[in-house]
């Protein structure tokens, strides 16, 4: 009897937990569902090693900018200029490297600094003059679109030297003896296995599980009611399996793309920054309630300013990746891309009013959009339908959020 009650109690608390965290699980399952769907409808093309590699390369610049955008949105602002800034930096890189023949490193550093300055210029008006970010960055969007045109004189500039293209299209060399890879390949029945890629996946999966267990133990000591154990196990198995699966696929193609490494490292840095540092916490506070944050001694203006500087640098990084991937800078580069980036953050659970959102959510959101794009393209669905479907997905994600919230009250 008592046991039955206890069981009913756990079922109740599990349901409650699921309701409260439906958003996070929903996002993960949506991504899986979409991938399974396209895997079936594209007859397995979606998960072919070459396509998975492509998917990562195609979405890298969106993911990189989504990191910055999430922080901007969490701080209670928005940045509409990122697509234009990205295009402008690509153009700048082309002029510096192709036309002027500057050394690569110098050009890259100049580009990143320029991105930071652009962010600072916009952030200054937003933070210290309290001009709405929507307006400042709308202006920025037009200005930098124009500047790209001016800089490139309306022409495409390229190609870039080989060493620059590597940023976006290169792969990390496998340091392990080729013979090992060969024998593994025979074992798995693949043509080739890149040990570094596979190992990275396994290690990353192990680290994620280990950190999860650690955090769970810590939560328990502080009496924090965490995820029900069953959920914890299932979630970790899914995430770990997905990681290993994807890196296995990658390893049977050309290994770890350079951008994946960049993206991965940046994601870890920003996830850590937002969740474990004082400055991260303070940004959430500014977005959650700016006045209360200010009266708690937080320098709200400076944080808003920094959020935009950071966004500028990341947009510049994305611009370099984009230019390297296309191997040319065009005046139209990055057109309307800001919308994909913003959509990624909102699909990932950020709130328009600020103070809410997670880095991992934004990254998953970006890949959800990416898989949709990729899958629909493989299926040969026209760009017209693609746009409509993406729009509806964004709307559905936000409606889901709002509905979820209203039900909990």
């Amino acid at each position: 009897m008592q046991q039955a009650n206890a069981q009913a109690g756990t079922a109740q608390s599990m349901r409650e937990y699921l309701v409260n965290h439906l958003r996070e699980y929903g996002l993960l399952f949506a991504l899986i569902a979409v991938m399974v769907f396209f895997q079936i409808t594209t007859n397995g093309t979606l998960m072919r090693p070459v396509n998975i590699t492509n998917l990562l390369l195609q979405n890298s610049y969106i993911v990189i900018m989504a990191l910055g955008m999430l922080i901007v949105i969490v701080s209670g602002n928005i940045d509409l200029s990122v697509g234009s800034v990205m295009g402008f930096i690509g153009a700048l890189a082309a002029v510096l490297i192709v036309s002027m023949g500057l050394p690569l490193m110098v050009a890259v550093v100049i580009c990143l600094i320029t991105g930071g300055l652009i962010g600072a210029a916009q952030g200054y008006w937003i933070a210290y003059w309290k001009i709405p970010s929507f307006i400042v960055t709308l202006a920025g969007m037009l200005v930098f679109r124009g500047l790209s045109l001016w800089l490139l004189q309306g022409q495409s500039v390229g190609p870039f030297p080989r060493e620059f293209q590597v940023i976006a299209t290169g792969f990390v060399a496998d340091p392990f003896p080729a013979a090992w890879g060969q024998s593994l390949a025979v074992m798995f029945g693949e043509r080739n296995v890149n040990i570094l890629a596979l190992l990275t996946g396994v290690v990353a999966a192990a680290v994620i599980v280990w950190m999860g267990i650690n955090k769970r133990a810590r939560n328990k000591t502080f009496g924090v009611v965490g995820e029900p154990f069953a959920f914890f196990v299932v979630r970790n198995i899914i995430v770990a399996a997905a990681l290993v699966f994807i890196t296995y696929k990658l390893s049977s193609f050309r290994g770890l793309p350079n951008v994946l490494l960049t993206m991965g490292i940046l994601t870890i840095i920003y996830a850590f920054l937002t969740e474990n540092t004082v400055i991260g916490r303070q940004i959430y506070a500014v977005g959650g309630n700016e006045k209360a944050a200010k009266l708690s001694g937080i320098k709200t203006e400076r944080l808003t300013f920094l959020a935009f500087v950071n966004m500028g640098v990341l947009a510049a990084a994305a611009g370099l990746v984009f230019a390297a991937r296309l191997n040319t800078a065009t005046p139209k580069a990055g057109f309307a891309l800001e919308l994909d980036v913003i959509a990624a953050a909102f699909i990932g659970g950020a709130s328009m009013s600020g103070g809410v959102g997670k880095i991992v959510g934004a990254v998953v959101g970006a890949f959800l959009m990416g898989v949709l794009n990729n899958g629909m393209s493989i299926m040969g669905i026209g760009i017209d339908y693609q746009q409509m479907i993406k729009g509806l997905v964004l709307l559905a994600a936000v409606i889901f959020d709002v509905y979820n919230k209203s039900k909990r009250v």
Partner: protein
């Protein structure tokens, strides 16, 4: 007599909580009925059931209104039957005129064109009924809170109200504004209007209520009727908290040490209208272990004074001198003020004090993140310990420190704000309306805390519109009006009459 409203056996559950458990309520035609109870007792939920925010079918029990079973599906539904609620947070549009606000959603129009002459005429009429003579085209933002509350009532009158419900109508009002409002309620009653008042202020309830329903933990505890039952504040308090409240203000041994905070010749200009002086040459001090009050009406400049001292958070062209333990300090930013040992607990905890969607833990550490981090990295274990410590010592009623602050009752929210500022390690705490909108039990706990702080040698400044609170708690009281200090009274000399007369006589002279 046939009751106008009867709610029978109302129960309402939320996931995991039973907010209302078999509550019954009967309001006779033409009476003023008071609903009292601690915050979180279920008063607001009950009113949401009544007004159709929780539509029929989403709660158990029956509502009988005007002799028939009523099943309201929305606020529009209940308003159409003449039930109108005026919420604690006013629902006026500040940048629209009084007339526009009065008929908002209810415009006097012909074929879609607003009839401005008629609107203006009716507005004058309605304003006169609530005792206002302001021009109908005046913007609502120019009115004080007291007048805004009256405009809200006028708005209800414009809608043919039969049952007027006022949810803590005097929470934001000064004593004199409150009195005016209560008189208006009696006046409306004399014309036959049925009213329900939800309030924490027992003296007000005694003044206007014909019958009282006390709710505790979602259930009806007692129904009292003036004339039939003996209605005393002690009785109500006992029913509300379920225990005797020996004294409303816990006793404290008074002892004042050397001067801690000394503010001299403080002058501040209004941030938007630089020609206006918001604070005029004010000087005050707080000693170690002393509790000092600042009395005054709404808009007297008390909050502005506190905020301008606390890191120049208000006003411009700030002049004057601040000393901590005799040494001059510059308080140019909030961080300066915190570093100097000041803490300011804001009057408006929801919009200025808390991050509502954040957890208790995150709110408590916000003003002193350095203490739970090293080299910019947060130590969440330490943070959780700190929060847990305050949860216990402050008796914050919550399942855990990872609860979202927005879901807590007013009293518990206030305890979170206080915890935040205690954790910042202040020497002087400025508490702005520390007990506004919180229940009797939590009030008592906060008074106890203030005494404890003073025993530890901290200086406490209380800004309050509730004079009994100042008289019960403070060693000294400064009286403020129109941005200037009118005088200073010691605990022994102070009385409500003296404070009021200081405010009134001096301002007449000015």
């Amino acid at each position: 007599m046939q009751p106008l409203l009867e709610m029978r056996g109302i129960s309402k559950s939320f996931p995991g909580v039973k907010a209302l458990d078999d509550v019954s309520l009967s309001v006779a035609e033409g009476e003023i009925h008071a609903i009292v109870g601690e915050n979180g007792a279920g008063k607001s939920t009950l009113m949401k059931v009544l007004s159709g925010v929780y539509p029929a079918g989403r709660y158990e029990g029956e509502i009988h209104y005007d002799g028939a079973l009523a099943e309201f599906r929305s606020i529009q539904d209940s308003e159409a039957r003449g039930i109108i609620i005026i919420h604690q947070e006013l629902a006026l549009v500040p940048l629209l005129s009084i007339a526009e606000n009065l008929f908002l959603g209810n415009e006097i129009s012909r074929n879609g064109y607003i009839q401005w002459h008629e609107t203006t005429r009716r507005t004058r009429e309605l304003l006169a009924r609530v005792g206002l003579s302001d021009p109908p085209n005046m913007l609502v933002e120019k009115l004080g809170v007291g007048k805004q509350q009256l405009v809200e009532i006028a708005k209800a009158l414009a809608k043919d109200v039969r049952l007027l419900i006022l949810d803590e109508p005097t929470a934001a009002l000064s004593e004199s504004d409150s009195d005016a409002l209560l008189d208006l309620m009696l006046e409306l009653k004399s014309r036959g209007m049925t009213q329900i008042i939800i309030s924490h202020k027992l003296n007000e309830i005694r003044k206007v209520a014909d019958s009282i329903t006390v709710i505790r933990d979602g259930s009806t505890v007692s129904s009292l009727r003036a004339g039939r039952d003996e209605i005393t504040e002690d009785r109500i308090v006992r029913d509300m908290v379920g225990r005797d409240m020996a004294q409303r203000y816990p006793p404290r041994t008074r002892r004042a040490g050397p001067v801690l905070l000394d503010v001299a010749n403080w002058s501040v200009r209004h941030p938007d209208f630089p020609e206006r002086m918001a604070i005029k040459d004010v000087s005050f001090n707080v000693r170690e272990g002393e509790v000092v009050g600042i009395a005054g009406l709404m808009g007297a400049g008390r909050t502005e004074l506190a905020m301008s001292v606390f890191g120049r958070s208000y006003g411009r062209d700030i002049q004057g001198e601040v000393r901590m333990r005799g040494a001059p300090v510059k308080l140019n930013t909030v961080s300066d003020a915190i570093a100097a040992g000041l803490a300011y607990v804001t009057e408006d905890r929801k919009s200025l004090g808390l991050i509502l969607e954040d957890t208790i833990q995150r709110n408590i550490t916000l003003a002193n993140l350095h203490a739970v981090s090293s080299r910019g990295l947060l130590n969440e274990a330490r943070e959780a310990q700190v929060a847990e410590g305050y949860r216990k010592s402050m008796n914050i009623r919550t399942p855990g420190v990872h609860q979202v602050v927005g879901n807590l009752s007013g009293g518990n929210q206030q305890k979170v704000v206080l915890s935040k500022w205690l954790f910042s390690g202040p020497e002087v705490l400025i508490l702005d309306e520390p007990t506004r909108g919180i229940d009797v039990g939590a009030k008592f706990e906060i008074y106890g805390l203030i005494n404890e702080l003073s025993a530890q040698g901290k200086g406490v400044v209380i800004i309050s519109s509730e004079m009994p609170e100042l008289l019960g708690m403070c060693d000294r009281i400064y009286v403020m009006n129109e941005g200037a200090f009118m005088g200073e009274l010691t605990a022994e000399d102070a009385s409500q009459e003296r404070i009021m007369s200081m405010i009134v006589t001096r301002s007449e002279k000015v």
